[in-house]
Assembly symmetry: C2
Homo-oligomer: 194 residues x 2
């Protein structure tokens, strides 16, 4: 494997472990062992655990961004329906995962934002990118008269994203999908219903 | 100091440090040093770091519960106004704190729920107690005709609490109070507006 292949493998394996166990709670050696990379070679690929963590956020953003775009970049005749389908698929994913782990960006923001300014900025960039995709979808919904025209797509997109993050956090504590169902009902049968 | 005094001091000092730095990222020795308790004596007070962490959640719940009760137990003629005042005070608190730290229960749930079932249960008990206080306030609001009578106080209380948790998480990432202001607007000028 090339250096880039190995780096990509460390990120893919590390993403899974950090998503399940948290960033501060995951050791570098554990990731290298799981990736089948010789112990002690970590610093050949990343300058520090922090540099690895920042690269992990980029990795999560690129996965999530692709998934969001496949649903929302061309939302079709009913943008609100496209948005609901996107969240419904995420709900099915978390049900399958046993209502664990939550949002990888939310988790790392929670752990690291106050400790390291580079993580705070990186996490906020990630949230902003997700929010922009929701915002464009809501703008499309407003243009075709699907939502109340007085609704501000920018603030509404932030509220939807932030409320989803909170629902995922509560899902982890409850060990149940109920918080996501309540989110779905309040957002799609309430806030975005015309 | 008696054993109970010292234990209470370790909890009060530990609560502040864990709130700022996270549970997995805080060492026992750091807490003992800050509390002025001799190194090595931790296990005289707590069986393990986990037992300490679970006691911390109880500590946070008792603080937050008292604060919530002072606003919500007897909400007066306008329960929605009482609820808004409660969140407005929290918003002022976080503005004062530089938009850092977030919800101590949310943080520990995020870090520990998947790693340790006792933490998951303890965090969910804490969330449930907060939710019940919001629910009783919404029931009072419904009785005096302040909110739409078709609104389910139980699900609405969960949604309000979870969305607040998400807003606090985003506040940490953004380093700005904006997510809390959007929460306030969407909940009190939207969802709970009649």
């Amino acid at each position: 494997m090339t250096k880039e292949d190995t780096k990509a493998k460390i990120l893919a394996v590390g993403a899974q472990i950090v998503h399940e166990k948290g960033f501060n709670n995951t050791g570098i050696q554990e990731i290298l062992s799981a990736a089948g990379v010789p112990k002690g070679s970590f610093y050949f690929y990343f300058k520090s655990k922090d540099e690895f963590g920042l690269a992990l956020v980029d990795y999560f953003v690129s996965l999530m961004g692709g998934w969001m775009d496949s649903h929302l970049a061309d939302p079709g005749p009913s943008p609100v329906k496209a948005l609901k389908n996107f969240f419904d698929e995420l709900m099915a994913y978390f049900l399958e995962k046993g209502c664990k782990a939550g949002c990888p960006v939310g988790n790392i923001a929670q752990e690291m934002a106050d400790l390291n300014e580079a993580f705070r900025e990186k996490a906020e960039q990630a949230f902003t990118q997700m929010k922009q995709r929701i915002k464009r979808c809501l703008e499309a919904a407003r243009e075709c008269g699907e939502i109340d025209p007085v609704m501000d797509p920018d603030e509404t997109a932030d509220f939807v994203l932030n409320s989803w993050e909170g629902a995922l956090l509560r899902m982890k504590a409850q060990g149940d999908i109920r918080p996501l169902r309540i989110f779905d009902k309040m957002i799609f049968d309430g806030l975005l219903k015309r």
